[in-house]
């Protein structure tokens, strides 16, 4: 292998053909029944199977051809390039450094200008979709991603029940504002505090557990909270949810068509766009608050302790770090930001139901954090934009409907892509696709291998 990167023809090609035919056979076994035969209910409500042989044949064809190309072209080419490139230089080029330095401030400026740009291009009515579906929706996930990033990315505790704290925040706002008429600005910190308390309450018993046990227990807690929300009908109204949750006001000014509403006071034509733009800036500020707190905390002893905990818990404990407190602060802070995001979510939707807080939602947030590179703020934000914005875009593309039929629903494919991306990231770039975050401080110089290459606790 080392002496000639050129493909040896003959035996290699026939081996590749054999190998790709074998993969085709395996693919036939894997996809044959599920892709080739679709179960469908007929008019008499009986299930019948329909063959989809064309689709099956094309799937298997793609796999055979793909495997063949991989074996004959892609892998030899990659091996050859690796050989030519030699050792990778440690310092990135000046251009890359400039990009990574200016990217974050530039994107913050862009985010502040975004509604103005959209409104100037499309007018107030036209901006609705872009500010609401893209702006607000993505920023909620950015904020959740950054919140979970504290727990998963910095402290290395895999939390599969993060959505529970989001639910606590949402239901605190929904219940307290509709029953007691409290304002959003009072309930926002309260929702955060409630969620943080839940974080401590649920965090406390699970702290002794190892990584994957902790993940499973947080999942169980998340599901318990959702099931209680469904079944405790007297308080939460069960799966029907709570509707007509009061909207947010700005210094007592309502965003509606009333005489003292925002549009009348400012002498503007009545439109729902003002409220959306206001919500956009609100969630932007909340998300930036999350980012700011995280960045500051990372420089404090507790932030250093989180990163140390992520790298090696036993070493951390033997150096005298109180792992209980460290884990609890991570849990509580992460939960608090989820609580903020939850109360914002409830106010924005005007409706909450347990449907919004399923395990899949937790999985989406975990996927965003994992894809972004656990610990990296910019990476998580980019992953949220790509994943949430990407699906919203898929929905917009009309030609996809003509290909996949009128009942094409990108949400199904979104989760499929999320799942595949999670597996792929773990295989190729376990520290994240978009960017990676090494511990903030090292000893004076790095050892010959970096922590991202080896199992934790070595190197």
């Amino acid at each position: 292998m080392a002496d000639s990167p050129v493909i040896k023809h003959g035996s290699d090609i026939s081996a590749a053909v054999k190998d790709s035919l074998l993969s085709g056979l395996i693919a036939l076994g894997l996809f044959g029944p599920l892709v080739g035969l679709r179960t469908e209910q007929n008019m008499r409500n009986e299930l019948v199977v329909q063959g989809r042989w064309g689709l099956l044949a094309s799937v298997i064809g793609i796999i055979i051809v793909g495997r063949f190309l991989l074996l004959t072209l892609v892998w030899p080419a990659m091996a050859a390039r690796k050989e030519r490139a030699g050792p990778v230089s440690e310092t990135p080029s000046a251009a890359r450094q400039a990009v990574s330095r200016w990217f974050a401030p530039a994107s913050v400026v862009f985010l502040f200008l975004y509604p103005a740009i959209v409104v100037s291009l499309l007018g107030f009515q036209g901006s609705l979709k872009w500010v609401d579906n893209f702006g607000i929706q993505i920023l909620i996930y950015v904020m959740l991603g950054w919140g979970l990033n504290i727990v998963v990315g910095l402290a290395g505790l895999l939390d599969l029940g993060y959505v529970a704290f989001y639910a606590v925040g949402a239901y605190s706002y929904a219940l307290l504002s509709s029953h007691f008429g409290l304002s959003f600005w009072l309930l926002l910190p309260m929702a955060g505090i409630f969620a943080a308390l839940w974080g401590v309450m649920l965090g406390f018993p699970v702290l002794r557990l190892r990584g994957d046990y902790l993940a499973i227990v947080t999942l169980a807690f998340g599901e318990i909270i959702r099931l209680v929300l469904i079944n405790w009908r007297e308080v939460t109204n069960g799966s029907a949810g709570i509707s007509s949750i009061p909207k947010i006001t700005l210094f007592g000014i309502k965003f509606d068509a009333s005489p003292d509403g925002f549009a009348r006071i400012m002498d503007l034509p009545i439109s729902s766009a003002y409220y959306k733009i206001f919500l956009y800036y609100l969630i932007l500020l909340l998300a930036l608050l999350t980012a700011f707190v995280t960045i500051r905390l990372r420089r404090l002893p507790v932030g250093r302790a989180w990163e140390a905990l992520r790298e090696d818990e036993i070493a951390c404990r033997s150096l005298g770090i109180n792992t209980t407190n460290t884990k609890l602060t991570a849990f509580a802070l992460g939960a608090m930001f989820a609580g903020f995001a939850g109360s914002f979510f409830a106010a924005r939707q005007g409706f909450v139901s347990p449907e919004s807080f399923t395990f899949m939602e937790s999985a989406i947030i975990v996927a965003i954090v994992v894809l972004g590179g656990m610990g990296s703020m910019v990476g998580v934000a980019l992953a949220a934009v790509a994943m949430i914005g990407g699906t919203e875009l898929l929905r917009e593309l009309a030609f996809l409907k003509t290909i996949f039929g009128s009942n094409f629903n990108p949400d199904q494919f979104r989760m499929l892509i999320f799942g595949l991306a999670m597996v792929g990231i773990m295989i190729w770039k376990p520290r994240g696709f978009v960017s990676s975050r090494e511990p903030t401080i090292f000893l004076a110089e790095k050892k010959s291998i970096s922590g991202s290459l080896v199992k934790e606790g070595h190197g």
């Binding site: 395996i26 076994g29 894997l30 044959g32 029944p33 599920l34 892709v35 035969l37 179960t39 409500n45 009986e46 299930l47 019948v48 199977v49 290395g156 895999l158 599969l160 699970v206 002794r208 557990l209 190892r210 990584g211 994957d212 046990y213 993940a215 499973i216 227990v217 999942l219 169980a220 807690f221 599901e223 318990i224 099931l227 209680v228 469904i230 079944n231 036993i314 070493a315 395990f359 899949m360 999985a363 975990v366 996927a367 994992v370 199904q412 494919f413 989760m415 499929l416 999320f418 799942g419 595949l420 991306a421 999670m422 597996v423 773990m426 295989i427 376990p430 080896v454 199992k455 934790e456």
Partner: protein, 305 residues
């Protein structure tokens, strides 16, 4: 008493299914120390494979003997599900050995999402009901107008589970494959030094777990008569609870844990509240992991640097 007896019968039936799934969790955890999160969805997919072949056999090929069809379907489901699990291990888990601690779990979560959404995309999001298989049963007891029945389906599930567990026990205890598997469980490096093909043994562990899950999937389909793409998650978590309760890594533990979870669930819904039956299962999971992580029959785990 009658209610108790009926719930006992139902609970053992449900517990057998959980036990069959739980073995997959416990074996994989025992050998590579990983929570195979996608196992519940492997179970669900196997139920779909069984559904498809059952329909092919009965409606397309017109097979009339239901019991024969069920046996053929079970064998096909076992083979195809094993192949699937083998492929999953090869693609999604094997490259991660030696990666950081949470990597296999995250990959398994990804795989679980992929499986359930793949089935949703290819087979549609609706419930898939099948006509009842093997109706009727034996009346065990009848007093105060409450008939305790043991249906033929339940007998089938008991018998199949018992036969499979016996066969499986033989496989693990008496064959060279089982010996290799137990050796890898104790010390993978040492086993490799002594000439055990570790990668092959791990693959076979996944295959065995998947074959048992496929049986559970077929039995689940014939018992409830309906399957949905989202049916993998909750039974998966419950079976994992069973594995943990019995002591993860222990095979008899998984079966005992499965039966216990099945019994707790049916008695809980029979005597307390059917709404909170899943809450009960999830609470047991949390409580056992927090207070008794070694389970009933497991060994306490020693943390090593």
């Amino acid at each position: 008493m009658e209610v108790f007896l009926q719930q006992l019968i139902n609970g053992i039936t449900l517990g057998s299914i959980y036990g069959l799934i739980a073995i997959g969790y416990t074996m994989v955890f025992g050998i590579i120390g990983m929570v195979n999160f996608s196992h519940g969805d492997v179970f669900m997919t196997s139920a779909f494979i069984a559904l498809i072949f059952l329909l092919v056999l009965t409606t397309v090929l017109g097979m009339s003997s239901m019991i024969l069809a069920l046996i053929i379907v079970m064998v096909i489901a076992m083979v195809l599900t094993s192949l699937m699990s083998w492929a999953i291990e090869r693609i999604a888990y094997r490259p991660l050995r030696g990666s950081f601690r949470l990597a296999p779990l995250i990959s398994a979560i990804g795989m679980s999402i992929v499986l359930s959404n793949f089935v949703q995309v290819t087979q549609g999001p609706r419930n898939k009901p099948i006509p009842p298989i093997l109706s009727g049963g034996i009346e065990v007891m009848n007093s105060n107008n409450f008939a305790v029945t043991l249906s033929y389906k339940q007998i089938l599930i008991w018998v199949v589970t018992a036969v499979l567990l016996a066969g499986f026990w033989y496989l693990v205890q008496k064959t060279s494959l089982g010996r290799a598997q137990r050796a890898c469980e104790q010390d993978r490096k040492m086993a490799a030094l002594l000439g055990v093909n570790v990668d092959r043994t791990i693959s076979l562990t996944f295959v065995m777990g998947a074959a048992l899950a496929a049986v559970a999937g077929t039995l689940f389909l014939s018992y409830y008569g309906v399957v949905n793409f989202s049916d993998g998650f909750v039974p998966g978590v419950k079976a994992f609870t069973a594995a943990v309760l019995g002591g993860i890594g222990s095979l008899p533990g998984a079966v005992i844990g499965g039966l216990l979870i099945g019994l707790i669930e049916t008695f809980w819904s029979g005597y307390f509240s059917i709404d909170y039956k899943d809450v009960a299962a999830f609470s047991i999971l949390a409580i056992v992991l927090i207070f008794m992580p070694q389970g009933l029959l497991g060994r306490p785990e020693v943390e090593k640097v």
